[in-house]
Amino acid sequence: MLIFTLRRLSLFVFTMLLLTMLSFSLSFLFPGDAVINLSGAINVTPAQLIELKARYHTDSNIIWQYIIYLKHIISGDLGLSMASQSVISHEIMNLLPATIELSLVALFIAMFIGIPLGFIAAIRHNKLSDNIILSVSMIGYSIPVFWLGLLAILIFSINLGWFPSAGQISLLFEIELVTGIQFIDILLSDSPYKWQAFRDATAHIVLPAFVIAIAPTTIFIRLSRTSMIEVLQTSYIRAASAKGLSFKQIIFRHAIRNALIKIIRHVGLQFASLVTIAMVTEVIFSWPGIGRWLIVSIAQRDYTAIQNGLLVLSCFIFVVHILTDFIYAALNPLARDKKYGT
């Protein structure tokens, strides 16, 4: 397990180095002065510019500049937003939790719907229900998210009036920002309307979370179907069945556990595409997350925000990836080290 951990950590470090290098080079590739792109300070006086250049060591060679840039990032200095002149690290810390919250809820929805459906399809392999599940998931996978989001607002917000169309919570509730994750903040708050706020926040998250969940759900359906079919064809299942175990016992005690392990590996991979979908969905549902902020920054040509937003977002996705790898390794001894497995 130690070797496994070290291997992952070194991978993390090298990937982060590559990412920061890319982000650093972006400041030269974007139009304008590299120092201004890095710091985001657009309205500086000549004197301030000289000071800024000294801080980023622009006179030294490019490698030294890069190291200084890394120092800035590690100390949490991500510069100022060119559009609003606010501190980027603060903005990100306020916005990222909202995106994490939305993505996690969507991921759980996708897992809770997708995996059981996939198992059902595998168990009823090549029967009508299998075909129906597969074709519905194919349709779900093909629907573009921006269209689905607008359709969901039209049907469920405007026509039926079941769910709100925008934001994280009704503006009537005053919830103090502590963790940034709305549900936790609500539970921590001492508002007399705590439970109403909780219910209101739940109503707000339903539509965007389901819209995001559609595509990953269909992927989970297909993954779990394949993995279940594989497991069902293994010899230990046949042995269990030969021993006289009932079908229920075989599925619940033996097949599901083994099939799940294979799926968990893919959760991390799916998370990356899920965050991408979440970015578009945040714009549609005015969700105050980092995706919407990043897209607005792109529209405003806010280079500093684009650079650092991308850096933080990819770093976050990578951390999730590694975490799922750890979970997978903890659950499946085979993955930790090949020599114990074969």
Binding site: I158, P164, L172, W195
Partner: protein, 556 residues
Amino acid sequence: MNCLNSFISAILLIALLTACDDNSRLSLNQRSVIYCSEGSPDTFNPQLVTSGTTIDATSKQLYNKLIAYQGDENNLVPALAKSWHVTRDGKKVTFYLRKNVSFHQTDYFTPTRHFNADDVLFSFNRIIDHEHPFHLTSGGHYPFFQNIEFDSLIKKIEKINDYTIRFHLTRADNNFLANLATDFAVILSAQYAEKLNKNQQKQNIDIHPIGTGPFKLKEYRVGSLIRFYHHKAYWQGSAKIEQLVFDITSSNTGRLTKLLAKECDISSYPIAHNKITQRSDLTLESVTALNVGYFGFNTTQAPFNNILVRQAMAFAINKQVLLDTVYQGQAELAKSILPETSWAYDKTSKEQAFNLDKAKTLLAQAGYPDGFTMDLWAMPVQRPYNPNAITMAKLIQADLKKININVDIVSYEWNTFLHRLAQGEHQSFLLGWSADHPDPDNFFTPMLSCAASHIGSNRTFWCNQDYDDIIHKALETNNIEQRKQLYTQANAILNKELPLIPIAHSKRYQARGNNIVGKTMGPFGGISFYQVKKSPLTIAVKDETVQNKTKTKKVN
């Protein structure tokens, strides 16, 4: 199985917990109103701006003025001053102030005294006294007061006692009271300013406001929301709602969606009027704002120095088509430069007839039987009085073609447009005027007086001595009937001389749920939420009546 049991009980528990306070949920929603506004305010002090968005968010919510406008006739009524007195020569105006008016108590300030003359002194001295410690805080620009030359008008403001204050004016000006009743002339707290001055936080006076108005500021997140709480000790009685939230939604479709999905109770400047009127649970309301969009002529240049040509133009333009196309029916046809809601409006004014034959005859009389070619300057931006000047110019072009006049449409970037217009490079132009206060003088003097033609806000360069004498006389008297008569005379001169053709008085629109009652909009100035409240039953009742109607139809 155990797992399943505990799962089910957990779900039941959550359902129970969330359902238990249904009543208080109703009441929080009941006691609050969400307004979808079109933009963020620049500041929380209306003295510093003329922008409508800022005035909407601040003036009538947070502050009071000494005197205010009321009713359809826009009469001046007491506000923070319970009465006032103007000397015979009009040069001394004394206000007797209301007692027991309390300022907002907020997280950042707790007042220890009631409103008195010091607050009035502070609020106006800040504007007129260039040495005042707060004059330069937030930039030192007071655009409305600079436009009316407030600092040269006021000789001094004298505190007679704690509840009496006297303004000494350098000249008689019967617009003085009207100007004090605008949304810009708000009263700030001197005690709060003193505290800020002591703590070296002077700039906070315009960021964390303290006023006497029906609402106090609770929270402001730039570009996202403004939260107001009601001011419990408000001198006219507490507002009917406890919380007022401005949901800042700059996208037009975003505001429409939130309105349709019931996420806002009231929406500013709605689009898709048909969609809103179709819904039985929403209301589209409008007021005719005090403004005028017009087609003006440079009366110093040929051919428009000829009065016959200007009259011919008036006969040749089909105003109704302009109204239907450009304003999409959202405006009233202008019969004079004054909107019908003004007290000085001459009810006998007639609509300008559309008559091509008459236009041709007049042109022939003027010496242009074969027509001519002219330039028409159309402004490049959307304004409340003219949402699309270029389209309007094209329609006018088509109209004038019928009397053999070729029109070249000219347009520049907005600032260049105004600059070159002031230089008099144009032949004819499309522009408009929005009033700052309801006094009719605010239309007659800045748009068409001789003085205005020299400093550039009268772009027709028309100067008529009779007209000028009349509008000056109208300013010297306080007799409303006499003034009304004088403005009718002035209007008659305009109708004959036609330096410009008034086209439309456009409306201001707002949409709201049927459960929201209480007036918010007026013909000028900002909106007010003081009278707004929510009634929960309206929707149900309305549904019932609709059903009843359908039933009766079937029976028939």
